[in-house]
Symmetry: C2
Subunit: 144 residues, 2 copies
DNA sequence: AATAATGTAATAGGTAAAGTTACACAAGCT
DNA sequence: AGCTTGTGTAACTTTACCTATTACATTATT
């Protein structure tokens, strides 16, 4: 299955927005992501609705981050995408008549639920500010 | 066709094969899965190569399980599918020049690796015999 | 009024599993 | 030997979803 890259793209954009005062246009962001301005507006819409960014129209407009990086977690960003499926595997029938299939589904579902809780818990502890700190570490080691 | 359903389908089939002596034809299995005989052969090929099942051609032929259900784990079945991606999300570029994107990728990758280890560890503890036991419990509660 | 932005609907493209068709090969039955 | 019943696979089509593109309305600045 082809993978959903929206989460990593949003994180990438937010961190760049946090490094500058001036609003960034969808077009600038699109170039940065190797993507398209319309695609950018689409994936940013959730962040806007969640109050994490702000979009100004017209001349001199663009996107701006409205919270500090230590106030935004990866979980927040994931939720702003409407919580798309995390897993690439699942069952073929939601509620089968076959008892064997029911057991298989319950088994798979259990594994998925456990893993999902673990990932979302991890996401909730990861703040943008931590990724920022990691970027600074990388910059230091490049400069050295 | 959002998710990969091969793992749950294979588990389903293996458990039915464990309940009968006679070989099951791809066509019978296909009906059971609401699928197609060719699709069945395709997903069974890995199990055959792994030695978990055996396919006999010609009259009276079909598929037969060759191990006991306590000798097969969910991990074995997953591996026989060539370990397809477990996660529906990922990065857009494998090795970006941008330091920020590198950090984001590292962050996401870390979360994925941790979760993957946890899931595979869980898979390795789940034996077909345990799912069988769960099926029996369901049968009992239906009969009651 | 012209220009530079976002907002969004409609449509096309790309990818991987699932489904289908076609045919080669193998084994048992009459 | 020939027919039937199976697997093995290649090639193609379908399906679902993210991504990309096109088109146009709306809004704000100059």
């Amino acid at each position: 299955m082809r993978q959903d890259t929206r989460l990593s793209r949003l994180l990438h954009v937010l961190l760049h927005m946090a490094q500058t005062e001036a609003p960034m246009t969808s077009q600038q962001i699109a170039v940065m992501l190797g993507s398209n301005a319309v695609v950018v507006r689409r994936i940013m819409a959730g962040l806007r609705d969640g109050g994490y960014v702000d979009a100004e129209r017209g001349h001199g407009g663009g996107w701006r981050i409205t919270k500090r990086t230590d106030e935004i977690t990866v979980l927040d960003v994931y939720r702003s995408l409407d919580e798309p499926d995390l897993f690439a595997f699942g069952f073929s029938k939601p509620s089968p008549a076959c008892l064997v299939e029911q057991s298989v589904n319950a088994t798979i579902k259990g594994a998925i639920e456990t893993a999902k809780d673990a990932i979302l818990d991890k996401f909730s502890t990861l703040r943008l500010s931590q990724i920022e700190a990691d970027v600074r570490r990388r910059m230091d080691s490049v400069a050295r």
